[in-house]
Symmetry: D2
Subunit: 128 residues, 4 copies
């Protein structure tokens, strides 16, 4: 479990006065990117030929988010054979506003095909 | 079933040289917006207090899209009680690259709560 | 002079109910990309090592644009030594809403330094 | 003068492997929004009918920014009669990568026309 704090910016909103549905993926990308930087950047230096590629995205919007809302994104990554599933929840205060997940595969960026996720990367992701 | 043609633009791509996963929702928004303009704009003039709000989004990325790719987005909307589900498929030529759906509710924009979808709107959406 | 037609989409708008100021660069990118595809794609196939890189952007917003507005982007590219200046005007009907320009350099994408713009590219850009 | 720290995210980059030219306006919006929240949110509560609207944007890109770059955005707002000019510089470490400015007017959001900038807002903006 990893927690990231963010804010709804003007460019996240649309004419309905709420965050546009695709902006939520920006919030999740920010959380995932922060997680990767903190936990994975060291080990990934050994695997320069590997890239994480998103193969599935899902979000369920329960409550709208508004300009300036301070939000908390809680991500919980799990490893399933060739996929990393990052479950997420977005809170405004204690209110759960959004749930969803991203699925990623690891690819060899030169051959552009998916590979086994190295054991040490798996271990870091699931927090072992 | 409704078909919309689009193109992968520079701002859709990222450092991996492929379309960023959230850009696909831009393509689907474009298709859905074109559908609404053609089929619904007349009837919606009667319902100025109603807004379609997206309550769920999902995409499965099977093949990457690249800068300049000419794509075909095929949407198939269906009505389920209080939700409109818009299933989509994105093709590059004959190759199916992406599948997914958007779910929308209809809300009263002043009260900001969901309402029954008016029968005549339902009928247009499912093409009756 | 080259003309491109576009539409203000939901994701272009913000909480103020108008197109966000950075969305206008999306419209101009669309126009410039269409121009390049029509006029330059053939000749650029000879120069695979060259990339156009934007080195300056400017926009003056005179009238706001709203969701669904049908707009006309008129671009007028000119060549100045090592830079291509693409002046643009955005119209809604006959109303001039926005003016501005993009400046581009041509770079060798491997060495990542700017190069002379090949004469035949210059000629196409200025419409000779 | 106000300083804000940010990071180049995946969705800021494009197929050229650098930050897309319009992403820089995202960085500047973030800096300006942080400045407004810290310095202006209290006084703006008195002026709920007023909105800042961007009427001009400009950026000169001297050095490219890459995925993960830690950047420092330094903004220097000045007041010119009916306009607020926010000059900005973006640094990566000590390297100046980008310069530019945003111009804003203050409008009555109901009448949607520009108004005199209240004296106390001017004073805060120029740091008096």
């Amino acid at each position: 479990m990893y927690t990231f704090y963010d804010k709804v910016m003007p460019y996240d909103t649309d004419y309905q006065g709420i965050a546009h549905y695709s902006s939520y993926y920006r919030f999740v990308t920010n959380a995932l990117s922060s997680f990767s930087e903190k936990k994975l950047s060291k080990v990934m230096a050994k695997y320069r030929n590997l890239w994480f590629v998103i193969v599935e995205s899902h979000a369920a919007y329960k409550r709208p988010l508004y300009l300036g809302d301070k939000i908390k994104i809680v991500i919980e990554p799990e490893v399933k054979e060739k996929e990393i599933i990052t479950n997420f929840k977005i809170f405004r205060g204690k209110e759960l506003t959004t749930t969803g997940y991203l699925a990623q595969k690891v690819i060899d960026r030169n051959a552009w095909h998916s590979v086994e996720i190295p054991e040490e990367i798996k271990n870091i992701i699931v927090g072992r």
